[in-house]
C-alpha cells in the first residue's frame, strides 16, 4: 500500500464537470481533465483492506487495491496490467459505471469512498496514451470458430476473451455500427463514440471479424450460423421495452426512450434521419417517464435539443438521502442520485403514476398524472395506492417511456434455435450454456437488463464456459480464477 494514512489526510475529490450552460451546447464528454497530483492523492486514500469488499462489489472482481497502489506509485504499467487482467474495457466502465465497487468500499462506512471509477478511467486512458494497450494477437489458432451474436459489451467481452485463446471469432451485429448500447444507447456526452471505435479498432487488429447489418434469423439464416461455427454466443441484450398501456398510448409523440436516444446518437455520428422518423425535443414540453439511468439520458438529450421544459417522473417514492436499515454498507444503497443530466435542468417528481395521454389531431398535448403512495400490503410486499384528488394534467408534447426492458427479443434467433427461457423470458442457461449444447448466452439476454459492467462480466464468464466446451479445459480468467498473481 502506498500511503497507509492517505485516507486520513485527503478527502474525496473528483474532476470538475464543464459548466452545464455551455456543455448542453454540444455532445462532448462533460468531465474536465484531472490533475495528476490530485489523482495521486485519491489513489493514496485506498486503505488496502485486509478484506477488500470492493472486490465483491465489482461484478468483474477487479483487483482494486492493487491498481490503486500502482497509481499511487506511478507505476502505470503495473496499474494497467492489474486492471486489464479482470476488465477488458475499463475505458467504458471508468466512464459510465455506477460503481458498485465504491458502494462497497470500506472507507465508505464512515467517509466518502475512494474514487475507484475515476482512477479506473485514468489508468485506462493513461494506458492508451503510453501505448500500453497493444492488440493481443494470439500466437496459435485453435481452428475452432465461434460466432458472437450481438456486439454490445457482453458480446465484445466474450469475443475478446475467446479470440485471446486462439479461437476464430466473428461478431454479428444487426445494426450498421458495432457496439450495441455502447454505441446506440449511451449518449455521447457520457461516452464519446471515439472511445468505442478505438476499442473496436484494437479488436479488429487482434483478428476479430465484425459483421454489421446481419440480423440472424432475418437476413442471415440461423441454420447457416449453426453449420459454420463450433459454438455460438447469444449476446442480443434485453431489447424489448416495457410498455405503458394507458389511454392515448398510440398518440404521436409518445415514444420509447431508446427510439429517441438511438436516433440522437446516429445524428451526432453524422447520419441523416428520414424526416418522417425524426423525434426531437426542441421547443417541446418533454415528459420522461421513469427515474432510472435511461430516463436520465433522455433528460440530458432533451436539454441538448433545447426543450421548453423537461419533467421526469418516477413511480416509486423519493429515496432517502442516506443509507437506511434496509441497505446498510456494503449493500447497494437505494438513495437519491442526481446525475449530471439532472444538473443541466429538469423537474423531478416521485410517486407519480401516468393515467392517460391526451391529444389533438393524433398528437399528444398533455398527460394525466396521479400521485400514489406505497403501503405495505398483507403479504408484506409494497403496494401502490392512488392518492385521492391528486390527479393533475400537465402539458406534454413529447413523452418518453424509460421504464425498463422486459427480456430479449424472442422472435428470430432465439425462437428459431428453440432456446429455453426462464420465467422472466430471458435465455435459460447453466454455466452460460443454453438448452442447445453449442449455444451459449451472456449479458442482458441471459440475466435481464443490467449494467455494462455486468455485461462485461457475463461475456468473460461465458467465454470461459465456451472455451471449456471447445477445448475440454480453459486457461481463461474468470472472476474466481485470476491468472495474475497480485
Amino acid at each position: 500500500m502506498g500511503k497507509p494514512t492517505g485516507f486520513l489526510e485527503f478527502g474525496r475529490e473528483l474532476p470538475a464537470n464543464r459548466d452545464p450552460k455551455s456543455r448542453i451546447e454540444d455532445s462532448k464528454e462533460i468531465q474536465l481533465k484531472f490533475d495528476a497530483e490530485k489523482l495521486n492523492k485519491q489513489a493514496a486514500r485506498c486503505m488496502d483492506c485486509g478484506v477488500p469488499f470492493c472486490h465483491n462489489g465489482c461484478p468483474l472482481g477487479n483487483n482494486i487495491p492493487e491498481f490503486n497502489d500502482a497509481v499511487y506509485e506511478e507505476d502505470w504499467k503495473e496499474a494497467a496490467e492489474v486492471l486489464f487482467s479482470t476488465n477488458n474495457f475499463p475505458e467504458f466502465t471508468g466512464r459510465i459505471c455506477p460503481a458498485p465497487c465504491e458502494a462497497s468500499c470500506v472507507l465508505g462506512i464512515n467517509k466518502p469512498p475512494v474514487t475507484i471509477e475515476q482512477i479506473e478511467k485514468e489508468i485506462a486512458e493513461k494506458a492508451f496514451e503510453l501505448g500500453l494497450v497493444q492488440p493481443n494477437i494470439p500466437r496459435n489458432r485453435t481452428g475452432k470458430k465461434v460466432a458472437v451474436i450481438g456486439s454490445g459489451p457482453a458480446g465484445l467481452a466474450a469475443a475478446a476473451q475467446l479470440n485471446s485463446v486462439g479461437h476464430t471469432v466473428n461478431v454479428y451485429e444487426r445494426s450498421d455500427r458495432i457496439g450495441g448500447l455502447l454505441t446506440y444507447g449511451i449518449p455521447d456526452f457520457k461516452l464519446e463514440k471515439r472511445i468505442v471505435e478505438r476499442r473496436i479498432k484494437h479488436m479488429r487488429q487482434e483478428g476479430i471479424v465484425f459483421k454489421t447489418n446481419c440480423d440472424i434469423g432475418e437476413n442471415v439464416k440461423t441454420a447457416d450460423i449453426m453449420d459454420q461455427y463450433d459454438a455460438v454466443v447469444v449476446c442480443t441484450g434485453s431489447t424489448i421495452p416495457r410498455d405503458l398501456p394507458v389511454p392515448g398510448r398510440e398518440l404521436d409523440g409518445v415514444h420509447f426512450a431508446m427510439d429517441f436516444l438511438t436516433q440522437e446518437n446516429q445524428r451526432v455520428a453524422g447520419d441523416k434521419i428520414k424526416p418522417q422518423d425524426v423525434v426531437v425535443a426542441t421547443d417541446k414540453h418533454v415528459l420522461v417517464i421513469g427515474g432510472g439511468d435511461t430516463g436520465s439520458d433522455c433528460v440530458g438529450t432533451s436539454n441538448r435539443h433545447k426543450a421548453k421544459t423537461v419533467t421526469q417522473i418516477e413511480l416509486l417514492e423519493k429515496p432517502q438521502l442516506e443509507r437506511g436499515e434496509k441497505d446498510p454498507w456494503p449493500l447497494w444503497p437505494v438513495v437519491l442520485r442526481t446525475s449530471s443530466s439532472h444538473q443541466e435542468g429538469c423537474e423531478r417528481q416521485w410517486a407519480m403514476n401516468t393515467m392517460a395521454f391526451h391529444g389533438m389531431e393524433g398528437k399528444v398535448s398533455s398527460v394525466e398524472l396521479v400521485e400514489v403512495e406505497w403501503v405495505v400490503a398483507k403479504n408484506g410486499r409494497q403496494k401502490m395506492a392512488e392518492v385521492e384528488n391528486s390527479a393533475k394534467i400537465i402539458p406534454c408534447d413529447l413523452a418518453l417511456l424509460a421504464i425498463g426492458f422486459l427480456h430479449p427479443q424472442h422472435t428470430g434467433l432465439i425462437a428459431q434455435l428453440g432456446l429455453e427461457l426462464d420465467n422472466r423470458g430471458n435465455v435459460l442457461c447453466e454455466n452460460y450454456r443454453t438448452s442447445n449444447e453449442k449455444v451459449f448466452a451472456a449479458g442482458d439476454a441471459r440475466r435481464g437488463q443490467s449494467l455494462v459492467v455486468w455485461a462485461i462480466s457475463e461475456g468473460r464468464e461465458a467465454a470461459r464456459s465456451v472455451d471449456e466446451f471447445l477445448m475440454g479445459t480453459s486457461v481463461l480468467e474468470s472472476k474466481d480464477r485470476s491468472l495474475l498473481r497480485v
Binding site: 485486509g50 478484506v51 464512515n110
Partner: protein, 448 residues
C-alpha cells in the same frame, strides 16, 4: 522442530490429538482444554466440545460484532472503524456497543444449547470428548476430500477406570517436600543472618522452578541488591525440571551436573548458573544439547556458563545477563535488548531477529553466521581490543566454572580463535554507544 513451521493448522487436528493423548495418559481429568481459531457458531462450539474442549476462545467474531471489518491493519494504528487504534480521530468512529457482544454470546450459547438438545447432552461436561456422535458429511464432493481420512480425528478416546473426558480434579498444591522448599529451609541462615551456605542436592525433572522460592525470600528481605556473591552456593546432580534457576537473585550460585529442561534461567536476576554434563558421560559436550528451549528468557542480570548446546529461543528478550554457551538452536537472541552472549558453536536460523541491544560474540570458523542471522536490525564486525578482552575473560571464566574442553582449546589457540569471532551488534545500539562515548569524551575535555 520449530513451532514456526507447524502453526496455522485447523484446531480440530491439534485438539483431537491432545484430547486423545491426555485420555490415554490418564491425565485428561486433571486438565482443562481450550481451543480457538475462527470459532463463530454454536456448531463450531459443539464440534470443539465433542473433540475434547470444554473451553473455547471467540475473538474475531466478537470483534466483528463490535464493528471490526478485518482490515488487518491492527498494527498500523490506522483502523478505519476505530477498533484497533490509538488515533483519537479514528476512535471517534467506533460504533460498537458492549450489549451487542453480550447478545452475540447469548446467541452462540442458544445455538449450542439447541445442538446439545438434539444430541441428548444435558451439560458440557458430559458432552466433552464424545467424538463418536460426530458423523462425516459425505456430500461435498470436492476432489480435495477424496484422499482425506478423518477417522484419526473422530476416534473416541477410551477412558481408564475412574477417569473422565473433562476436567474433574483440582490440581494439588505444591508438595511441601519439594526441592524448592528444602532449599528454602537450607538457605534461611544466609538470607536472615548473612551466613553463607554451601550444599549439594540431587535433582529430578519433576523439580521445577528450583531456586525461585529462595529468590523470592531474598527479594523480600534484601530487595534487588540481593546477597553478597556466593552466599548460597548449591551443587545439584541430576536432571533439572523446567525453569531451573528462574528469577534467581544475586548472591545465588547454582552448579548443575547433568542437564536441564526448558526455561533454564528464565528472568535471571543476578545469580550465577553453571551447567555441565554428568562427569561419567562419554559424549562430547559441545555437540549435545544440555539445556532446553527458551533459556534466559527475559533475563535481566547475572551470569551463566553452559558446557553444551542450548535449544531454541536462547536469550530471547535478555536485557542484561552475561552468558557463555557452546551452541544453540533457532531464533537465538531474538528481541535481546542488553547483556552479552558468547556463543562458541553453531547458531540456528533467524539469529538476532529484532535484537535492539546487547552484544553477541559468535565463534564462526565455518562462516555460517551471515546465512543464519536476521540482518534487519544488526550488523557484524570484528571484535575490537576492548571486546577481545571481554570475550577472553568470559571464556576463561567458563573454563574455570565448567572445565569446558572446547573453551580450553579455543584459549590455547587464541590468536586463530579470535580471527573467527564476530561481533553481532544492533545498528542503533552501536550508534547510541558511540554517541555516549563521544559525549563522555567531550565532557572530560571540557571539565578535565
Amino acid at each position: 522442530m520449530s513451532s514456526l513451521r507447524h502453526t496455522g493448522l485447523p484446531w480440530e487436528l491439534g485438539l483431537a490429538e491432545a484430547h486423545q493423548t491426555l485420555v490415554q495418559a490418564r491425565l485428561r481429568s486433571r486438565m482443562v482444554l481450550q481451543t480457538d481459531g475462527q470459532i463463530r457458531t454454536g456448531r463450531d462450539l459443539a464440534i470443539a466440545t465433542l473433540l475434547g474442549a470444554e473451553e473455547w476462545g471467540v475473538a474475531t467474531a466478537a470483534l466483528v460484532v463490535e464493528g471490526c471489518i478485518m482490515m488487518r491493519k491492527c498494527h498500523t494504528n490506522t483502523c478505519p472503524v476505530g477498533v484497533a487504534t490509538q488515533n483519537p480521530e479514528l476512535r471517534k468512529l467506533f460504533t460498537g456497543k458492549a450489549d451487542e457482544v453480550v447478545n452475540m454470546f447469548h446467541f452462540l450459547a442458544d445455538d449450542l444449547r439447541r445442538i446439545m438438545a438434539q444430541l441428548g447432552f444435558k451439560t458440557i461436561n458430559e458432552m466433552v470428548g464424545q467424538a463418536n456422535v460426530l458423523k462425516v458429511n459425505e456430500t461435498p464432493n470436492h476432489w480435495k476430500l477424496k484422499n482425506l481420512n478423518l477417522q484419526p480425528i473422530l476416534e473416541q478416546a477410551v477412558l481408564a477406570n475412574g477417569d473422565t473426558h473433562h476436567n474433574s480434579s483440582k490440581q494439588k498444591p505444591l508438595d511441601k517436600e519439594a526441592l524448592g522448599y528444602k532449599l528454602r529451609a537450607f538457605s534461611k541462615s544466609a538470607i536472615e543472618d548473612g551466613i553463607a551456605v554451601k550444599g549439594e542436592f540431587p535433582i529430578l525433572n519433576i523439580d521445577r522452578a528450583v531456586g525461585t522460592l529462595v529468590s523470592s525470600d531474598i527479594a523480600q528481605k534484601h530487595g534487588s541488591k540481593g546477597l553478597p556473591e556466593n552466599s548460597i552456593d548449591i551443587k545439584f546432580i541430576g536432571s533439572a525440571g523446567q525453569s531451573f534457576g528462574a528469577f534467581a537473585s544475586k548472591g545465588i550460585r547454582f552448579e548443575l551436573e547433568g542437564e536441564s529442561n526448558d526455561y533454564f534461567g528464565k528472568g535471571l536476576s543476578g545469580a550465577t548458573l553453571i551447567v555441565y554434563p554428568d562427569k561419567k558421560s562419554k559424549f562430547v559436550p559441545h555437540e549435545n544439547i544440555i539445556i532446553g528451549n527458551v533459556a534466559f528468557y527475559g533475563a535481566t542480570s547475572g551470569e551463566a556458563y553452559i558446557n553444551g548446546v542450548a535449544g531454541e529461543r536462547f536469550c530471547v528478550r535478555n536485557s542484561g545477563a552475561r552468558v557463555v554457551v557452546e551452541g544453540l538452536g533457532d531464533h537465538g537472541c531474538e528481541y535481546m535488548t542488553g547483556g552479552r552472549a558468547v556463543i562458541l558453536g553453531a547458531i540456528g536460523r533467524n539469529f538476532a531477529a529484532g535484537m535492539s541491544g546487547g552484544v553477541a560474540y559468535v565463534f564462526d570458523p565455518k562462516d555460517e553466521l551471515s546465512a543464519n542471522c536476521n540482518m534487519e536490525m544488526v550488523e557484524f564486525e570484528s571484535p575490537d581490543a576492548e571486546q577481545q578482552a571481554e570475550i577472553r575473560s568470559m571464556i576463561e571464566k567458563h573454563v574455570g566454572e565448567t572445565n569446558s574442553m572446547l573453551a580450553k582449546s579455543l584459549l590455547k589457540n587464541w590468536k586463530s580463535t579470535l580471527k573467527s569471532f564476530k561481533t553481532v551488534m544492533p545498528t542503533d545500539y552501536k550508534r547510541a554507544l558511540e554517541l555516549k562515548k563521544s559525549n563522555t569524551k567531550r565532557e572530560q575535555l571540557t571539565h578535565g
